[in-house]
Subunit: 269 residues, 4 copies
Amino acid sequence: MTKTITRRSFLAGSALLAANTLLISGQQPPASAGAADAALIADLVAAYRILAQQGVLDGFGHVSARHNRAANRFIMARSLAPELVTAADLIEFDLDGNAVDAKGRALYSERFIHAEIYRARPDVRAVVHNHAPSVIPFGVTNVPMRPVFHMAGFIGNGVPVFDIRKMFGMTDMLVSDSAKGRALAQTLGDKTCVLMRGHGVAIVGPTIQYAVGRSVYLDVNAKVQAQAMALNPNVAYLDPQEAQKIVEGGENRGYERPWELWKAKAMGK
Amino acid sequence: MTKTITRRSFLAGSALLAANTLLISGQQPPASAGAADAALIADLVAAYRILAQQGVLDGFGHVSARHNRAANRFIMARSLAPELVTAADLIEFDLDGNAVDAKGRALYSERFIHAEIYRARPDVRAVVHNHAPSVIPFGVTNVPMRPVFHMAGFIGNGVPVFDIRKMFGMTDMLVSDSAKGRALAQTLGDKTCVLMRGHGVAIVGPTIQYAVGRSVYLDVNAKVQAQAMALNPNVAYLDPQEAQKIVEGGENRGYERPWELWKAKAMGK
Amino acid sequence: MTKTITRRSFLAGSALLAANTLLISGQQPPASAGAADAALIADLVAAYRILAQQGVLDGFGHVSARHNRAANRFIMARSLAPELVTAADLIEFDLDGNAVDAKGRALYSERFIHAEIYRARPDVRAVVHNHAPSVIPFGVTNVPMRPVFHMAGFIGNGVPVFDIRKMFGMTDMLVSDSAKGRALAQTLGDKTCVLMRGHGVAIVGPTIQYAVGRSVYLDVNAKVQAQAMALNPNVAYLDPQEAQKIVEGGENRGYERPWELWKAKAMGK
Amino acid sequence: MTKTITRRSFLAGSALLAANTLLISGQQPPASAGAADAALIADLVAAYRILAQQGVLDGFGHVSARHNRAANRFIMARSLAPELVTAADLIEFDLDGNAVDAKGRALYSERFIHAEIYRARPDVRAVVHNHAPSVIPFGVTNVPMRPVFHMAGFIGNGVPVFDIRKMFGMTDMLVSDSAKGRALAQTLGDKTCVLMRGHGVAIVGPTIQYAVGRSVYLDVNAKVQAQAMALNPNVAYLDPQEAQKIVEGGENRGYERPWELWKAKAMGK
């Protein structure tokens, strides 16, 4: 296999990357829904940096927000490490994953995760995709992820696992087109999180704060669940009714308390 | 479940939050016991920041101290992430959890943990409530937390587990009123720590330094106990008599040595 | 054994160290291939610092790059902790591990790992040797390291284990001459990584970015694999065909996205 | 037990602490051996800070060095968190643990660990005592600590476990007098490290650099050994002959490479 990783294939990879900035030949770029709310932009930039600072994202992974003016548009960064994202790196997309104006910049090849979830779930206004090391094991072992403590009440009705191989056979594991995004969104169903076998997780929320807060506490819950199971496989998880009451009661107060802290730290204020 | 997490329920959550600042209709706010000792205030602010810096608290959890002038008053922060707490955020409460003067600010909904422990335990002058990931597993697995090393002598007579479901059925897991606080204090009994199933832990001490020091070393002990059990379930814990001698001998010198370090680091000096 | 660690043996150690700067008596130093490309030098310095910052290297371990002007020359630092390396510390070597001009400075005794891999593998342009704690267990337990997620597709065709004892008997475990380096390179074969029993790992790539990116994600994969196996030994690893498609598709885009971030952080920009 | 942790016992603890500064009534303080070498002092201060920065020491634990002018004197800090130690905090002691001139300052109650090891082991010139969480499990589980990789060759002839209860019955676990220190030194024998059941470890070396380097890599080895055993209990440890060759070969070059890095970071240079 190593022989394929030559300079030639390295350049081929770069060529593929450049292709990512182009629309399907002959197609017009979608129209913009206009400038998004400044607070939404500020929160989205903060979300990228917070998730990096909290160890949920590393050099890979991404966050998006649905456009506040148009349900069929969403905003996410150009292909860039989360910790480096600024407002100038944000790009508007339609639900087919087409950029309104990429200005020639490379795009995340997995923007279809976001696009298809926004299409399938009108209640969702923010999506996170990450590869947190703590969650990967639950996608490859048939051990269901369950809430060990109240901060994870949002997974009280389960975390489904998406196995790309079932519908798409042998792939490079990436959700890199609309069909794959649609299949992922279907596995997500009406839940808050969907594990991706051998890859990572997608997490949704009614606000950026929810999607970020859930990403942070899904990571904590994964670590705590693994540790609890190591002590004794017979763990007393939250009852689904307890989880439901947590969600109905405002779910950790909408994460506003940690958000204030996280944003201050991530934006260096 | 996800359908309940709409913008509407998000606002409902905020409404509940606002309600937290109000007294039961028609009631008068309790009288103040007067200004607390300046050193106590400084130590309490430091305690919030130390516990965040030591990884015991994240955006949630809280510390309180009994008022130095009145046994029936205690001081804790308004609803705020621990790392951001300053002296201006501290509020005086009575043992029913009523604020002397909240100035319209949101309160921690679990202040009743503190109030009822102060009522039940005259010897306690500081209380910490945290969700340290290391301790949660011991609250959900029937594996008793026991002292693996001398720094944890203070749990030599056991760490009871409070299961809110036993008395209160299906809840959102929060100790959000006096009845729940009372039940928790009863489970605590004369011990130093009480685990809360699927939630966290409450830790008490005769001074802020003890409560903070015990919180830090309970976290370390939990990690070490889990690791020791993974090597060999047959662990040689401290003998209860050894633990008692540690406590009687001044328990880690009252944590004054690490306190000096922690405070210097947390307050940026 | 302790009696051997006296002042005398300490000095003896230093004497051995000094010997490392000398060529075999009477031999001429190899000729230089000329100044290496400035970008290569900058990337190599960054590689040392990135790997330290990412926790893959500590005070030990090293990175090298093949000289851009001569396939039979490579560049690596003098004996120095990775985090301290600057361009002035880089030295040119031939494939026998001889320095073109060491200027009397001590050399890494394991430079033969690099030299012999460059000799055996014309496709390799960068080599990392590290002792990451996460990977050591896989070299001493007969548990094969396998890819748990798409970021580790580069180990899809296996990670062989080199046991120095098989060919060289009882040693100090170091690959400190050409014969040992040759045996290691032979075990590596056409793979991307080779574990060294009771020691560490060597990782290769077609660019510095690949060798560094693979080092970072081999570490992550080791942690995730161990955690997955603890949940359930029956782990669903990447299929070799999936791994191959990942590598052929450009392998995490040649690590350019995290590289930009890592370099900015490591070089303090 | 909690009832004993009242304000009264807190003060009693402080009284005990004060007593630590006094000599046995009527005794004269020992004479000084004169000023120690400036480089030794600088290295000892660095050692305190390095071990804190490397996570081997927290607010507790200590390092000492034998006086360069007198084999029956050693130097260590007053009772202070390691990260705060400066040259002004260093005090000279005799091998009975008496301070030459404490200037009324509180002393580490476990200075007898150091004193008795210096008495029993003329080859030892530096001693570390720490409570690293990674090593505690090996002192309480009958699982012998063994070298998993070449950086831990210095434990190739074993790590004995000292159980204070065997000779001294129920205690507060502290090695707080000469008799206990003597028993510990006897268990250490001619080894480099001795575990203390339910407490920590003592580590020795022919230089400060060796004692610090061994402390850091004993911690790493403990973590790696635990992880390796979790993968497969049948671990291929270093052969005792391999370990001996490592030690005879200069043992990680006397830790001079990481020492340069650690000292630069710890002293903020």
